[in-house]
Amino acid sequence: MTASRKILLPVLAVALLTACGSAPSVSATAETAATAETAPTWTVGDMRMLCNSDEDTYFVSLYQEWEEVGYVFGYDLITRVNLDTGEQEPICRVPGCEHDSPDCLAYVNIQSSEILIAAGDGSLLIYHKALDEEGREEMRSRYESILHDPERRETQYPGLAGEKYLESCVEMLSQPSHLDRISADGLSRERLVTLPEGLNPEIVCWDGNALYGVMQQGNLDVLSQNDGVRIGLDGQVDTFTIPDPGYTSLVGGWNGRLVLRHTRCPVDMNTMFLYGNYNGFYALERDACVDCWLYDPNTRETERIQLPGESSKFLCLAGDLVVYTCAEQEGYSLCTYDLMNGESRVLYTNQDSIFTTAPLNRIGGKPRFVRSYYDYESGIVELSTGRFWSWPELDEMIDQEFPGWYAGNAICETDDDRMVLALYSNNSTETKYTTIPSPITPEENVEDARASLQAVQEYAE
């Protein structure tokens, strides 16, 4: 090779390298995936409470036994109670049915969690909430192993009753959550919806087309995230998110929106619990306010209602009224907040905490009473006046007709202003049902009754 070639090659190499320099690069287009959630295809209808009474019937599960073994191994039968006569009969009217086996459409396993909902047309919806899959399978295999081991079965679940009971438990534990309907004529029971495995929501209200409920996600009760669940009577099951699910739960529906209970605290107390500061967590929990949020799942808009007062806590929804409690200097007050006009009112003040209230269903109307506690006594409170009726006071109204029986529970109000009471006796395991005239204050006397009750309370304080 000559010297000129030796020089030429490096020069050409330099020339080529410069020519192969950076050309404008074309970057790959990264397509951004849209992740927006789609709005639900359903709308919330006219929400109503889950109640097990309609026009003239109260539906209840009553305990039965195959043999006289004394409240050990038995079963429940869904029973119709006629609100006019108090008469009871199984909802099943299939000719020839003995009403003592799972074949009867009124039969319910006593360990089963069933919610009865009067559909309003005479038929009855039955929601069965299954246990979580793991616990259910564990229980099922335990019962099954005893069932197939005669020696153990005879020791732990003796006799025919024991065997039937075990069979019934195994059968019940094999089933996921589901929704059934028993027809108005009591001749058929159909399965409307079988929920997917693992979906076992608590049901809180319904709108005629679907049940709405809430499902906790997570392995710690206090830290669970809550999801909404809609179970359409047409079989469609949807889950949906609710705002701030770590501190919010679904409790009902009002005026086309879902009603949420939201715990408001200036500290992220769930994380405090995870850190292990339990003193702090429980102090914050007691001091926290529990607000009422109205949520539209279609628009995802939330109206946040902060209930008045210190440490106010939303207890229940009764028609248009949010029933809540708040802390006062002299104790705790039971109050109402009217969603229609935003007015709030104190019903009564108690020295001790008021933990729970539940609305008393009124057939064909809005609730006028809630069950509550007053000075360690349970009874019902009239929402218009705050008048408290203890069970002994109600006993006086039934005493002559049912001597030896006492009022233990108020079931509902009928559409003709009667109140249905459940009666118990110390000498009987039976439950009787009767009605009394609703102890309602006439509208024209409400203001007077309120004033006199307030005066009495102030005097007592």
Binding site: I7, T18, G21, S27, L220, V267, N277, Y278, N279
Partner: protein
């Protein structure tokens, strides 16, 4: 011609041939540049700058891990093939019975940490004086425990066997940073979260996250600062403790730093 002259001539000829060739790319670039100047081209991939995240901070990594493990209820050997998480986590005791009695060194450490918070403008002097006074009054016993991530919990109770807690402090043992403080006292005092929280951010050296702001529209609007970059929330609050001692109402002071991944603007 002499050989030397011949070489010179050859080099000159070569240079004359190569230089124009080498200039071709230069000319090409000049022409394309001229054509591109003034033209607008859309950037099809969004520009992303490097922003700090919670994972860039040891303290926040530790807290994230702690919360994840606690959420799973993990309190022992942990083998989970699904999430790929293996190992062991032991949470520290939270009640006096399971904790270790703190000697004078640990009590001095507790006091030193409290003073650091006071000097840093995080803990109001009045609350510090209050809890010191009550610890003296009730002869409060201090206990401590640690978890396997290295968080130390120091707790002081009313008397020897009471469950009423006067003070609960949680500190990362490696850095000495406070991640939670709970004080319960018979008398409450004013707090100013708008001053205390930025001071605490600085004291915990988390200001580099760069986006601490008031979580408007949340329950923590008046008590918190939130960093979206770090997915972390810190709160400073005071209120009614609801526990009583000797029939007296008690009040709390709380500092909390923790992961917060839920939606903040609602």
């Amino acid at each position: 011609m002499k050989l030397k002259a011949k070489r010179g001539l050859l080099l000159a000829v070569c240079a004359a041939a190569i230089v124009p060739l080498a200039a071709i790319p230069l000319g090409w670039f000049a022409l394309t540049d001229a054509a591109l100047v003034g033209q607008r081209q859309n950037q099809e991939t969004p520009y992303t700058s490097l922003v700090p995240t919670g994972n860039d901070y040891y303290l926040l990594r530790q807290l994230n891990t702690r919360v994840k493990l606690a959420e799973r209820g993990a309190t022992g050997p942990l083998y989970d093939s699904e999430s790929g998480m293996e190992g062991m986590y032991l949470s520290g005791a939270t009640y006096a019975e399971g904790m270790i009695y703190a000697d004078s060194d640990m009590q001095a450490y507790q006091d030193e940490v409290l003073k650091t918070l006071v000097d840093g403008g995080v803990l109001p002097q009045a609350w510090y004086d209050q809890v010191k006074e009550e610890i003296d009054y009730w002869a409060g016993s201090t206990y401590y425990s640690t978890d396997t991530l290295g968080f130390v919990r120091l707790m002081t109770f009313v008397g020897e066997s009471s469950s009423t807690c006067l003070l609960n402090m949680e500190v990362d043992s490696l850095t000495g940073k406070v991640v939670a403080l709970w004080i319960s006292a018979e008398q409450g005092h004013e707090i100013d979260p708008t001053a205390a929280l930025p001071a605490w951010v600085e004291l915990n050296e988390l200001d580099g996250l760069g986006d601490w702001s008031v979580p408007v529209g949340t329950d923590y609007e008046e008590s918190g600062l939130y960093s979206e970059n770090g997915q972390v929330l810190m709160t400073c609050a005071a209120g009614d403790d609801n526990y009583t001692t000797g029939g007296q109402r008690r009040f709390y002071f709380s500092l909390m730093l923790g992961p917060y991944t839920r939606e903040v603007s609602q």
